[in-house]
C-alpha cells in the first residue's frame, strides 16, 4: 500500500479489502510482477493506494483488460478489482467468458449490494426488499419487477473453466482473516497456472445502506450471508489444494 489516505467513506469495506490484497501480494513476493486493473466504481482510484503497476479499465471491462495483459505478458500476475455493478451488470459477458476460458487471472469481487460510486442505485446483487434510489418502492427490490440478486460466485462456478472461487466477508475479525486467506489462495491458483480464480467479498457500504459501519456489519450477517452463503464455492485445482479449506 502506498502511504495515502483513502477517499473511502467511514467504515467502507474497500479500504480493508485493499489492505488484505496488498498484504497478500507483498507476502507472496509478487509485487514486482503484479498488474492490477481497477474498475469504474468506488475503487476507481485504487492506483493511488496499491503500490503495484495498474491500469484503469472502462466500466465493466476489467476482465477483458486483464485478459489482454495476461495473454500479452504471461509472466505478470494480473488481478482485477471490481464492484458488483461493474462485474455483475455491465461486465457480465466479460466475467463469464474470462471464467469460461479459464483465463489465468484473479478477480477480487467486492459485493456491496449497491452501486456505491454513483450514489446508491440498485445493483445486480441488491437483495430483495432492499430499497435503493432505483428500486424506490416501499417494498424495495421486488423479483417480479427487478429480478433476483445474482449469486455471481455460483454462476461462475457453474462454468467448467473457473478454478477457484470463494465467497468471504469483511465484517468481523475472523471473516477478515478468512478473506485474506482466500485472496492468497486465489493468487496462488494463478501463480500455479491453474486458471481463473475469484474471491467474492461481502463488503459494507455504510453510506448507501444508510447505516452506521457497525450496523452494516450486522446487516451483512443478518441479511446478506443468508442469501450469499460464505465458503469455498468451487475448487478444482489439481496441485495446490492443500493450502485451502
Amino acid at each position: 500500500m502506498k502511504d495515502a489516505a483513502t477517499h473511502y467513506c467511514q467504515g467502507c469495506g474497500h479500504s480493508v479489502i485493499h489492505r488484505l490484497t496488498a498484504e497478500v501480494i507483498e507476502e507472496l513476493g509478487i509485487a514486482d510482477r503484479a498488474v492490477g486493473v481497477p474498475p469504474a466504481g468506488c475503487a476507481v482510484l485504487a492506483y493511488f493506494y496499491f503500490d503495484v503497476d495498474m491500469i484503469e479499465a472502462p466500466h465493466g471491462r476489467a476482465c477483458a483488460v486483464a485478459t489482454g495483459i495476461k495473454r500479452a505478458n504471461p509472466e505478470s500476475i494480473v488481478f482485477s478489482y471490481q464492484g458488483d455493478g461493474d462485474l455483475a451488470a455491465i461486465g457480465t459477458a466479460e466475467a463469464v467468458h474470462s471464467a469460461n476460458r479459464s483465463e489465468n487471472i484473479t478477480v477480487i469481487f467486492v459485493n456491496n449490494a449497491v452501486y456505491g460510486m454513483t450514489g446508491g442505485q440498485m445493483a445486480p446483487t441488491t437483495l430483495l426488499g432492499q430499497r435503493t434510489t432505483t428500486s424506490p418502492a416501499a417494498a424495495g427490490r421486488e423479483a417480479h419487477r427487478e429480478g433476483y440478486p445474482i449469486k455471481v460466485s455460483e454462476l461462475l462456478a457453474s462454468l467448467e473453466g473457473s478454478t477457484y472461487i470463494e465467497r468471504c466477508a469483511v465484517n468481523s475479525v475472523r471473516a477478515i482473516r478468512r478473506t485474506k486467506k482466500a485472496i492468497r489462495e486465489a493468487f496462488l491458483t494463478q501463480m500455479n497456472g491453474e486458471g481463473f480464480s475469484m474471491v467474492e467479498i461481502l463488503s459494507p457500504c455504510p453510506t448507501n445502506w444508510k447505516m452506521s459501519p457497525v450496523k452494516s456489519w450486522k446487516w451483512i450477517d443478518e441479511v446478506m450471508t443468508p442469501y450469499f452463503p460464505l465458503g469455498v464455492i468451487k475448487d478444482s485445482r489439481k496441485g495446490s489444494k492443500k493450502d485451502a479449506g
Binding site: 500500500m1 489516505a5 483513502t6 473511502y8 467513506c9 467511514q10 467504515g11 467502507c12 469495506g13 474497500h14 479500504s15 480493508v16 489492505r19 468481523s172 475479525v173 477478515i176 482473516r177 455504510p206 452506521s212 459501519p213 457497525v214 456489519w217
Partner: protein, 69 residues
Amino acid sequence: MPCIVINKETCKGCYLCIEVCPKKSIAIGKELNSKGYHPAMPVENGECSGCESCMIVCPELSIEVYDEE
C-alpha cells in the same frame, strides 16, 4: 502491557475498532479532527490484551498495536 496508538488524523470514526475490542479499551474521542470526525481513542487505563483485532478491522490503517515487553 500491550497498548495501541490511533492516528487521529486518518481515523474516520467508523468505531468498528470499538465494536471488536474484547477489552472495551477503545472509546469515541471528544475532539474533531480536521476532516470533521471524532476519532476513536484508547480508553485511559484500558486493559488492552494486544489481540490486534482493532488493527485488523480498521479500514484506515489508523491503529498500531505495540506489545511492549
